[in-house]
Symmetry: C2
Subunit: 228 residues, 2 copies
Amino acid sequence: MTATAQLTRSVEDYLKSIFHLTNQGGFATTSDIAAMLEIAPPSVSGMVKRLSETGLIEHVPYRGVQLTPQGRRAALQMIRRHRILEVYLTQQLGYDWGDVHEEAERLEHAVSEKLIEKMAGALGDPRYDPHGAPIPTAAGDIEEAELFTLADAKIGASIIVRQGGDDDAARLRYLAALGLTPGTHLTVLERQPFNGPTTVRSGSETRVVGQELAEQLWCAEVGGGGNR
Amino acid sequence: MTATAQLTRSVEDYLKSIFHLTNQGGFATTSDIAAMLEIAPPSVSGMVKRLSETGLIEHVPYRGVQLTPQGRRAALQMIRRHRILEVYLTQQLGYDWGDVHEEAERLEHAVSEKLIEKMAGALGDPRYDPHGAPIPTAAGDIEEAELFTLADAKIGASIIVRQGGDDDAARLRYLAALGLTPGTHLTVLERQPFNGPTTVRSGSETRVVGQELAEQLWCAEVGGGGNR
DNA sequence: TCTGTTTATTAGCTTAGCCTAATACCCTGT
DNA sequence: ACAGGGTATTAGGCTAAGCTAATAAACAGA
């Protein structure tokens, strides 16, 4: 039992950001964290000092930070809260797919562990959130899917939309209108040269997706890691 | 449309406390507010200054404070949030009657208006919380029940348990075990002299309630203000 | 009425997190 | 090998909201 002293809202946000920025391995830089949290870089330097003192992150000056096992556990707990909340709000309270992120972003800092587990139970312990992202277990394990964006998908590949990015409601609604919701199976037909649009087939429909959008649409190989 | 700028958690707590302390009319004193929020009196003096500058309260030095109409509106909004959350957690997520207060206390600062209204809708717009307290409407109206404690109830009176106090989980559970839950109809049979226990009849059962407990058990005259 | 106690306020500090401006470090291109 | 540009950090401030200690006002009892 890790007696994690109560973390502040702001600390929880830092840990989440660092988790997302280091998910592909490597360090999270000061300026990347600052950009993600929309604050000035020196504020990050200050917090980084405090967080390394409490053992939640490892700091290599002028290089960046990584989560310690303890920090990673705390980050995954927040991500679990966030994603369970998103599923709950969507399924039980009729929230719109594009709107849940903002609400969950505030609630995740206020809910108790107990409430999250009650919500998860009421939902049948979901494994993916409404955007297709995997939900860490209460024990802190998360599915390591090999995610890539549609812009990087190989021609001819059979893929499933997972849709990691959940932060722009307008874009999410647009994607939903195109039928590119998480869980959708696609076949990559072709891609025009020089970062051109990608053409995909979804069932009997064919869609052309611009490069900008394709770079935001996270997908997984079919068969790789459960399909919702 | 009152463009109430985003209030901090702490301001919201002050307004709620002042509302409760002035509910029977009169002023809320610095030390009463301090006691209710479990902070030192000088901290209250400081916040009182800020709140009167923003027009949420009226301050009479050395006498106390009262809510302005604007402050009252904000307080009622918080109380609505709190009570809707309590009903929701109890009815939809199987929370225990005695445990909801603490969870709601944290969530009320994080939920959006929209979420509260969705919850209220899912519950069929409840009028009372699980402790029997009336829920303000979205428009900011609250039922003005004539509440008194069981210790003050007249002998022979026919009353209904309303149970204002929702802050001590152990006491609430004990009351529930005695069958003294909100909505229960009682007849006051007798009261021993010198602050002795009160005897009540609930249906076919007879109960003797000690003075200490009776002073915490808020009741309303039957017929006065709806009965749940 | 005066005096002592209680209660409220002011003064002055602390901590968390943010900010801007100034400085230090790293790295790449010549 | 080093100069310049781009990051990172340090220095120094600000605000919100808490604290303790000191002072001021109100009130109650003799």
